[in-house]
Symmetry: C2
């Protein structure tokens, strides 16, 4: 079965193992194998045992991603206007490897609106550009998050789904994302 | 000359071109060629001209990174407790390609303190774990940012430098980072 890596701050949920089990069940319903960050590796290098826990976790996540065809990234804004940086790192890592990226979020508001809310306003120039209180430009391309993230999804042939739902308790948006991923990843070979 | 990619939210500064020019001059002082996100590509694919600007910017940044030996990432917290997600994406992309990553920040406070300040406190369990108002766990490994970022620096053989300075107007911490990068990247071959 085609494997997909389930990236997201979901690992910080109090019931993360159960929650990721529900995500895997949804994947299975679309003939995909969901790989969770918390999953054990079948055969981790013995040398890792001597490393601090955080390094073992990072190496394990990267190994999981290398074994997958795509990353399904929960890009729901996390403690700020943007997605969780751990998830964004994994999206970048996947693109460096040439994997496909599919993203979803349980929030509909676009990046600009979320950023302006988070910085408490900002200053607008006559040309329409926005600047934050530190004097740094606010990105304004009409996207859902930073352009590198959205481009990773687009350039890889992936799909982005976002909709207002119960932020950390909804799986309907994830399910739509998995449906799109399955349609892309499991296309039958063209018959000749 | 060995090329290093200058990742960071510095591109959002009002004087970004001048600022990145100063960063390049520091690189040159250590016999490294700094490549800025704003630099033109020598020979961009003609097909890109038809793409929207944000996609051209992302493809150009990725092409720049592919041509470099390392990424020098400005990981100064940006509109939240973590680094700029565009920068973090580029760090992940670099690691997917096997590049080295060097990070720096003009802020000294560790990730846990910054996160607790940003979420307005949180709830602490008797076992010492912290939970945010949404009920999600706060990462607590004594690191400077999310473990994926710090592991990318460590696993690649890079260096992380952080120190309290004028957040968006200091280059002394960047210079120390470049000095460390040069020492690693420009090691003379072992004579036998």
């Amino acid at each position: 079965m085609t494997k997909v890596y389930l990236a997201g701050p979901d690992v910080f949920l109090p019931d993360a193992a159960d929650w990721l089990g529900r995500k895997k069940a949804i994947c299975a319903g679309f003939h995909l194998t969901g790989v969770a960050p918390l999953d054990d590796l079948p055969d981790p290098p013995a040398a890792w045992a001597a490393l601090p826990e955080w390094r073992q976790l990072a190496l394990r996540n990267e190994a999981h991603i290398r074994g997958c065809a795509a990353v399904i990234a929960n890009l729901t804004p996390f403690r700020g206007p943007s997605a969780d940086v751990g998830t964004v790192y994994e999206v970048g890592y996947a693109r460096g490897l040439g994997l496909k990226v599919f993203g979803y979020a349980t929030v509909a508001a676009p990046f600009l609106a979320r950023t302006l809310a988070s910085i408490g306003g900002g200053r607008r120039d006559p040309d329409g550009s926005w600047w934050d209180p530190d004097g740094l430009l606010v990105e304004q391309f009409g996207l859902f998050d930073n352009l590198m993230i959205e481009a990773a999804v687009t350039d890889s042939g992936g799909t982005m789904v976002h909709e207002d739902q119960d932020r950390w308790h909804d799986l309907s948006v994830f399910e739509r994302c998995i449906e799109a991923a399955a349609a892309t990843l499991l296309q039958p070979p063209l018959s000749g």
